[in-house]
Amino acid sequence: MQQLTWKVGGAQGEGIDSTGEILGAVLNRMGYHTFAYRHFMSLIKGGHTNYKIRISTQPVHYHGDLTDILIAFDQRTIDENKAELHQNSIVIYDSAFEPQGLESIPCCGIPMRETAAKLGNPIIKNMVAIGVTAAALNLDPAPFLQTVASRFASKGEKIVAINKNAIQQGYDHYREKEKQRFKLPDQTAQEPLMLISGNEAAGFGALAGGCRFLAAYPITPATEIMYWLVNHLPDYGGKVVQVEDEIGACLMAIGANYAGARAMTSTSGPGFSLMQEAIGLAGMAEIPLVIVDVQRGGPATGLPTRTEQSDLNEILYGSHGEIPRIVITPATITDCFFRMIDAFNLAEHYQCVVIVATDLFLGMSKQSIAGLDYDAVKVKRSGLIGDESLADLEPGAFKRYAVTESGISPRSIPGQANGMYVALSNEHDEQAREEMEDRHNRVTQMEKRFRKLSSFQPDQWGAKYYGPDQPDLLLIGCGSTYAQLSEARQALEKAGKKVAHLHLHILAPLPATSVGFAVEQAQKCLIVDNNFTGQLKGLLQREIGLHQKFILHNRYDGMPLTVGEIIARANEVLQ
């Protein structure tokens, strides 16, 4: 695998994102595998933002620890990103400022702002940066010019011309000034690659999984799911409502599910906290419900533009009282797509709440992925009673919450004759007409609800094991840490270490057989949590035991984990 990392940084409002997006788009079209991470702040203009792309000949799920090429529009970009630079990096800075503190790191000043200003619009210094990038990567500027031409086509020829000009001048400037060029290997992917973010994949997965209704409230970093769905659901018979708050959003999704639609809500931590009571309703009334929590830095408003896996506790244990629930943690962007389909099938089958927990890193990052396989998409209907079966029953004999062996009861949909029932938030009996405080009934219904998931086999795909048996060290993570953990494991393996990696795609019900077996086998386990208190570690301690084997490695500064820190920690533990 050959690879290179590139980053552009500056103030918010300087077009940093579009610089990265154009480069990503061109590279992706050329058949390179890319992974792009956006670093931004909770303000609209100013501050510091950067866009990083890892370019590779193989699929990559992470943007990489280091930066080979850093394009800096300001000193702050250098300050904030210096730690990622190495001796073979190059810093290409806007010669409008004099870079400080680069010591021996090679650098090269290009008059980016000046060039743009001369072209009549200083804001297009980002286009100059694209030209510079093309030159630095030793790429033909043509595809960049084309991309920009088609992107700005609607804005008129003059705009297109200026932007193209800016790219060309950036290209020329760099070639004149600087020899050091990174050569990307030739690359043509087998099939055209999709450039897609985790949030887009989740939206697309929801649609493919039969979701036809989204009720949500805007919140970083989840809103892109809503954007994707509002632009697509209506074409497939669906609707999207922006609700007044997350309480209403969750309940609207519950209403639509009750009415027979596959419906969901998407949010992040603060919104998820507001949904706690509603989650209990879905659990009690056995109404299917899919919630996506794109986690961000907490607590409270916290770090809205940073990543964290710190809602796990609330996802697993939130809402008063007790309900069965399924918690899925997609590990990659492709996984975001497929796990959403699973989520809808499972919610319908088990008539329960399914929470899909991603995070800012997974949700907002964009990756080149090989085409999603249509044949792997399976919408499975279940649990719905037919009109004929209802017609066969005595009037009023239908038991919505029938106590069955499986714990799953037949479900009718409003409009079906003879299927009337009340979905109650109070305890109720099989008949589902009125609340019921009787203690024997309570026990029966409680057990029925919790029995439902006994047929669910989380071990089937909820835990994946990579590497040797009986390892000296087992790395354990869930969700978005997959990429860094698997790269770390491979590196450790290469270094001759006997290290395995267990990755959790389902946290509840926990794939306890697989986890228990893997933990038993391993000498030690390094649990990698992207939060402060070690929430995944806590879960495993609770469910698996063997505390003495567990060591925590965690990160809580709002950044995704790095491969390097995991390797370093693993080596430390292995000593």
Binding site: L193, M194, K239, G248, P414, G415, V422
Partner: protein, 287 residues
């Protein structure tokens, strides 16, 4: 279709004898019966309170939702399947206290549901605390010295929040109330119906008599409910204690205004994407 009035019966009510909520249940049953709506096409979404139990006693589909959360659930159902008649029902605490925000937003959206608020000026199921519609000075378990707050005016809020149908009924006048509920259900759009529904157990102030002495019925007046400002004036003049249809207008419906297909309910749209649809969507991501 051969529906009988008894088809609208659910469980046996457990309300206190004399409770105003009986009349609301009865009138709703009558109204849906008279409109010939088969019970399987009616969904009642109720809140938590004595009032909310109406869903258990009515014979259709229903959701006994959370306290204050009738409107969003009802909205979700209505958008998913506009072929259903969706009735939200709850108490004054449920709707004007904890649930007020959902109500206000649904009115301006003009969600096509009927909302029956069984307003007894008190929290009853929790055995007697003042509610948003309790008058200032109202003595209750949480206001032993009298409440410190001016009461909420639901009709005025409904009017300014742009409900397209605003009415008020009284459990003591089932004829009028049935008529109002029928009109509310027939109205296309958000129908807000506030119903004075006395709690005979905990509210010793706002009794049937109290209401009877004060209520002005619009039915007896030469009043046409088509001017919002005039309706507001009327309501203010009567200090909110009037009955009848106060305002009605035709306005586009939320579920129709939302982008998406209109010719069939959401619940009937196919769940699977065809191969070409799928590939077309995937192709949007090719850069």
């Amino acid at each position: 279709m051969n529906v009988r009035l008894t088809d609208y019966r659910g469980a046996r009510p457990t309300w206190c004898p004399g409770c105003g909520h009986f009349a609301v249940l009865g009138c709703l049953q009558q109204a849906t019966y008279q409109l010939g709506l088969p019970p399987e096409l009616v969904v009642v979404v109720a809140g938590i309170g004595c009032s909310g139990k109406i869903v258990q006693y009515y014979g259709g589909y229903g959701v006994h939702s959370l306290h204050g959360r009738t409107i969003p659930v009802a909205t979700g159902i209505q958008i998913a399947n506009p072929g259903l008649t969706v009735i939200a029902a709850g108490g004054d605490g449920d709707g004007y206290g904890i649930g007020l925000n959902h109500w206000v937003q649904a009115m301006r959206r003009n969600v096509d549901i009927t909302y029956l608020v069984m307003d007894n000026h008190i929290y009853s199921l929790t055995t007697g605390q003042y509610s948003p519609t309790s008058r200032k000075g109202f003595v209750s378990k949480t206001t032993p010295k009298g409440s410190a707050e001016m009461h909420l005016r639901p009709l005025e809020i409904a009017l300014t929040a742009r409900a397209s149908f605003v009415a008020q009924g009284f459990s003591g006048d089932v004829k009028q109330l049935t008529k109002i509920i029928k009109a509310a259900i027939e109205h296309k759009g958000f129908s807000h119906v506030n119903i004075f529904s006395p709690c005979v157990t905990f509210n010793r102030l706002n009794t049937y008599e109290w209401f009877k002495e004060r209520i002005i019925s619009l039915d007896a007046q030469d009043y046409s409910p088509d001017d919002r400002l005039q309706a507001l004036a009327k309501v203010m003049e009567a200090d909110g204690v009037l009955t009848g249809i106060i305002f009605q207008e035709e306005r586009p419906l939320f579920h129709n205004e939302l982008p998406g297909v209109q010719d069939q309910p959401l619940t009937k749209s196919p769940l699977e994407l065809a191969r070409d649809q799928f590939q077309q969507l995937a192709a949007e991501f090719l850069s």
